[in-house]
Symmetry: C2
Subunit: 311 residues, 2 copies
Amino acid sequence: MNFADRVIDVIENKGPLVVGLDPHPEHLPPSLLQRTRGNGDDPLDAFAQAVFAFNRAILDCLRDVVGAVKVQMAFYEMLGPGGMKLLQRTLLEALHLGYLVILDGKRNDISSTAKAYASAYLSYPVLPGNQVVPPQWPCDALTVNPYLGEDGLLPFIEEAHRNEKGLFVLCRTSNPSAPFIQDMGEGETVYQRVATLVDRLGQNLIGRRGFSAIGVVVGATYPRELELLRKKFPYMLFLVPGIGAQEGDMEKLGPAFARKGGGTLVNVSRGIIFAYREGKDLQGENFTGAALERARFYQKRLRQTSQGTLQ
Amino acid sequence: MNFADRVIDVIENKGPLVVGLDPHPEHLPPSLLQRTRGNGDDPLDAFAQAVFAFNRAILDCLRDVVGAVKVQMAFYEMLGPGGMKLLQRTLLEALHLGYLVILDGKRNDISSTAKAYASAYLSYPVLPGNQVVPPQWPCDALTVNPYLGEDGLLPFIEEAHRNEKGLFVLCRTSNPSAPFIQDMGEGETVYQRVATLVDRLGQNLIGRRGFSAIGVVVGATYPRELELLRKKFPYMLFLVPGIGAQEGDMEKLGPAFARKGGGTLVNVSRGIIFAYREGKDLQGENFTGAALERARFYQKRLRQTSQGTLQ
């Protein structure tokens, strides 16, 4: 099934919310760290086990409310090879529980190397003698960076096409410095050119619901650009970060949603998975309860916004 | 010792050549694959062991001729968690043999996530309770992508500063589509703006030889842009890919070198490590001999070019 159709299904069945599994080491619940301590001499390995316990608990508690997760690779890479094993286990667990899984790696390189990244994240390794082994980083979609232009994106698009995966190309990012490069250009800006390229490259990956499997990342912190892009590309998948810790304004998201709410996924990471830190439960004894409550809140508000019924 | 000073030392002692350890699975010597076959049931693990044997042989045979290596992460990531363990072993081996090691990951993200990447690749993990563990991906420098602007680069620069590491920021890449985004802008283009930003951000990381530890990636396939950038930034480190398989023209590289050859590293990957494929040794029985011969050729030519004595 086309990735874009799977996204529309998730939005219709659960809502637009994507929960970011970004396990910042300093925010993990102290109670959980204490429970998982002492499982061996290697502190990195013990911590990776704590993170997996955290991820599994979050994935398990949100499964009725949330349909998609975004896994930020940086927080796994920072834990070394053991962290990468943890990443693999987290992806398998999320897929096993039925989530749509977006791997947030923002990969990019010249064509011959982009091929290697595309096979890593959207396919499986092909070894000499055509030995085929299972996908190593199983997921539904990957984020990529467009700085190298079309030939750096094509290998990702080919693998997405072949394996019914999706891509989200960075277009207008959510951070304060985003305009520095992304707004350059006269008449057409960099981010507009990226969206136009994505639109063209995605034409062969359009699903039954009219959306292409190749979407863009556009930050909630730039509602004007979000609205302009949505008007120009009504059938493009949007992945929208910047709500929650980044303080993007949920009320201004309305115009980002296309066709009765379809086509836009909104990511919240720290604001949900570390919600226990906002209350009195400083040890995080009930971090899953806090996460579930915040996920319900965001999902409900995002459904209202997407349906244009926000008060 | 400042990273830029280490680079200048390498160039003076050995020459500008950087060898890229990009183990494309389909190009590994058949003879080596046969020797390492049968080490267990897991074909991926067996292949990772073959790649490590290949890397170690290449690193060992080039140590008298070459001072720096660039390790392309994509080819390790594509092999899954076992590939990441192989990456760690390769980095440790290269550093142990005295190479300057550039990790080519082209990482990028918003500030809070860029911090995680910076700690992963330019520092070491800091766990809750301030448990400090060894660096997981030891290297001297990392490549990063500038699409997100200044605030996405700052965490990398802070860690580089703290730990005497280096950065190479993608500026004008070597691929055919590079101009699509990188040439946008009126008066000032995207790639020029990136170089100007890198120049400013690197001011606090200038070593004894006048160069900053924050450099740029500029492709040999664009000699005109390379020359313009070198004229404008005589004290900026350049990492120049695009020679060899990418067919950049070595003769036109002259103007890229600053101050009697200092400050510019030139990368060759496939053209050296898989040099056996260009001769009659189809099984790669003597792949190290072929690599060494090509490395000597490139190093000599690059030294001549950098010293302006090329015929």
